[in-house]
Amino acid sequence: MRLPAGKIVVLVAVLCALCIGTASVWISREQPRKFDGSVEKLSLGIYRSTLSGLLLIAEDQGFFVQKGLDVTTNHYEYGLLAIKDLLAGNIDIASATDSVVAWQILAGADLKILAAVNDGDFIRMVARTDKGIRQWSDLKGKRVGLTMGTISELFLDRALTFNNLSREDIELVHVDSPAIVAAIKKGEVDAIVVWSPLDDEAELGLGASAVSWSVQYGQKYYWLLVCKSELIEKRLHIIERLVAALAQSENLVASNQAEAQRIIVQQANLEQSFLDRTWYKYNLKLSLDQQMVMAMEDAARWRIFRGRISNTRVPNFLDVIYIGGLRAVRPEAISIIH
């Protein structure tokens, strides 16, 4: 079959247009742009788990480098240790729970909250059924291990109240989080209050003799990025770069969940099966919520109520929240009344 010359011309024109269009799309697709300004050094204190997912992804994918940040990560077993290192001036930014941050501010620490990078329901009690524990009321007289000074203590205290128990009904034992799973497995304690992924590790270790339940009672807790005031005063520009890099991580989580999980499994040395079971609990998003402020005030009030602090006045946490970084990158993620 022979095509008329006119049709051939039209066909060639259409093919040319397609080629040009494809080439344009190919050329104009989003390319990682190399940062052309001065590169800033930044040290982060993180806890390697899903909680720090956005930070792990940004580090793995080079988002920090793309934003002109030469990031060094220090690893801690829990947020309180990172906060202490931050206050000691060893790192620039720490990550910790809202309660720990609130308590430190209540105690007069010079901290500024930059953003929450995760929130959810991660604190669980794991108990041994062979010790006769199957429900809250069975905890009476039992040894409950937890890392004192962390959010576990706050949630346990409130959960005990909700279940008509008091701290005096149980024997609280301080166990550093790295040793807490071993403590319950050895029988040094009858139950533990831990955060993910230690709860999963403990349950797997105890096997059939394990029972677990949430101690949060629907109240979310936030995983926050905090720094000292001087970082904002002297190196404000890096805050925006940091938040922008984390926003890229958030985009990756939204667009390619499987890839995000793969990175977190690799960086936090987790099992994929664990992440598959617990992924729904996490909310890997940047935010500054009104509820976060209320949660921090709640933690501060609890601290004051427990009389562990000389300060009896809950501070105005709005004064320690720096919204400028997140507002510049993702303003819709701010729900704090400001």
């Binding site: 209320m294 809950v314 105005n316 946490f317 709005l318 009344i337």
Partner: protein
């Protein structure tokens, strides 16, 4: 009206319609956008009222700085929202005014509550008066905020209803736009079909019919306009075409008749030629015997009665014998001439040099007696009747010898190959031929000289011409610059068989 104007008018109408409906759609979309903005602003009012309620509760409960600060922020935001709402919600001005009033009252009550917890409070903290005052302020604040929630919700519902209505109108306008576009598309297609495609189809069909040979067909494209003109032009073209065709047909018939007549004449002529040749042959052949008898009788009479009759009778008898001899020569030549057409051989490849040698052998005594010098160039081999070709050479060479001048005769034969033929030249140094007789010399029994000067019947060149023509060639004579003549004849290289 021409198609151009019709299309212009319809396009202008379509454009006006599209612009009109499009403008309506744009206006509706703007209205919808305004409704959306108003709805969002009213939603923000609702949200802020709830925030005020929560913050008031928080402050009442904990007496802390943060809810106080956020109350102020939220209250200021509310004031801006309500002022804007008063401008936008003219139909719900009563509700908005009530909201503004309640908003002012809530701030008053909240300020009192804050003042109650302040250092300058007139009622000491923990006193019954403080407690009673706090309870009353909380109740007032709660009632006012509850009223605001109800009004804000009402306002939001109103704006949502208006937005729904606006949405509906926008949808209708969009559908109308789509329908108008569809109608315009269909109308344009129909217009194009009626004004252009259908007449074009008719023209196309008409062209096919006319092209197939029906020149009486006419296209019926009614109405004025470019296509009407085109149809009229097409019909004129068909009429002209028919006229031309008829003229051409008549010409063809005329030519065919002429060709037939010509062929008939040619046939007649050929038959006449054949009859003539046959007649010449029969006459020359069959008259030989009586002529011989007449000659013999006259000679016998002269011999027997030579001495009985006078010298006059003898002279007459001699004259009769000479005339018979002359008549016999004429008859022999005529017979030979007629044999060129009737007694001929098929064309075969023959070497012209051998043919010439044979001819010269026939002329050996003539050449010797005259002292003639016969020369030739290399001659070709070609398809021809060798006998006739030999006779041709013989006639032309003997002609050159016979009509010699004072010089000993010299005859030179040459040949050159042209595109489709061989050109032979027989050049002599004889007396030459006056150019005015160049055609006459090839006629039968035509002579330019007296018998006494150059004996002969005058048939030689006629035979030569007939032989050349039988081979499909031509013969002519031309004078030489230095005296004498040159006879040129052509023999086609490949067409001799066809001619034969």
């Amino acid at each position: 009206m021409s198609i151009r104007y019709r299309l212009l008018i319809s396009s202008a109408m379509c454009l006006a319609l599209v612009l009109g409906v499009g403008w309506l759609v744009v206006v509706q979309f703007n209205s919808l956008e305004e409704e959306l903005d108003r709805s969002m602003a009213n939603s923000a009012i609702v949200r802020n009222v709830f925030n005020l309620k929560i913050l008031a509760d928080e402050y009442s409960e904990y007496n802390e700085e943060r809810p106080l600060a956020q109350w102020k922020i939220t209250w200021d935001t509310m004031r801006s929202l309500l002022l804007n709402s008063a401008k936008r919600n003219s139909q719900s001005s009563e509700v908005v005014n009530r909201l503004i009033e309640d908003h002012r009252d809530t701030n008053s009550a909240f300020s009192h509550l804050v003042g109650l917890h302040g250092k300058d409070s007139t009622a000491p903290d923990g006193s019954p008066m403080h407690k009673e005052l706090e309870e009353k302020l909380k109740a007032l604040l709660s009632v006012k905020l509850q009223s605001m929630v109800a009004d804000a919700s009402r306002l939001e519902k109103t704006s949502q209803a208006e937005m729904a209505h606006s949405h509906k109108v926008t949808d209708l306008a969009t559908i109308a736009f789509v329908i108008v576009m569809a109608l315009i598309t269909v109308g344009s297609a129909a217009l194009m079909y009626t004004l252009v495609l259908r007449p074009l189809n008719k023209l196309s069909e008409g062209a096919d019919v006319v092209g197939a040979g029906n020149l009486d067909h006419r296209v019926d494209v009614a109405g004025p306009g470019e296509l009407g003109d085109l149809a009229a032009a097409f019909n004129r073209m068909a009429a002209n075409l028919k006229k031309s065709y008829e003229e051409m047909e008549a010409e063809v018939i005329h030519r065919k008749q002429a060709e037939k007549a010509l062929a008939k004449q040619a046939e007649e002529l050929a038959r006449s030629n054949r009859d003539l040749e046959q007649f010449a042959y029969v006459a020359s052949h069959d008259l030989q015997e009586p002529l011989r008898n007449v000659t013999n009788c006259v000679q016998l009479l002269e011999k027997r009665y030579k001495h009985q009759v006078g010298s006059d009778v003898v002279k007459l008898a001699d004259l009769a014998v000479d005339s018979c001899a002359r008549m016999k020569d004429l008859m022999d030549d005529l017979l030979e001439f007629s044999r060129v057409g009737t007694r001929c051989n098929p064309f075969e490849p023959c070497d012209c040099e051998q043919v010439l040698t044979r001819a010269l052998a026939n002329l050996r005594s003539t050449i010797r007696e005259s002292g003639a010098v016969i020369t030739h160039d290399p001659l070709p081999t070609l398809n021809a009747d060798a006998t006739q070709l030999s006779q041709l050479f013989q006639n032309l060479v003997s002609n050159g010898i016979k009509f010699r001048g004072k010089e000993p005769p010299q005859v030179h034969i040459s040949a050159e190959e042209n595109e489709h033929e061989w050109l032979f030249s027989v050049r002599d140094n004889g007396i030459g031929i006056d150019p005015q007789y160049k055609d006459r010399i090839f006629a039968v029994f035509q002579r330019l000289h007296l018998q006494s000067e150059y004996p002969g019947t005058g048939i030689g060149l006629a035979i030569a011409k007939k032989i050349v023509e039988r081979h499909g060639g031509q013969i002519r004579v031309k004078p030489n610059h230095d005296g004498g003549s040159t006879f040129c004849f052509t023999i086609p290289t490949g067409a001799a068989d066809n001619v034969h």
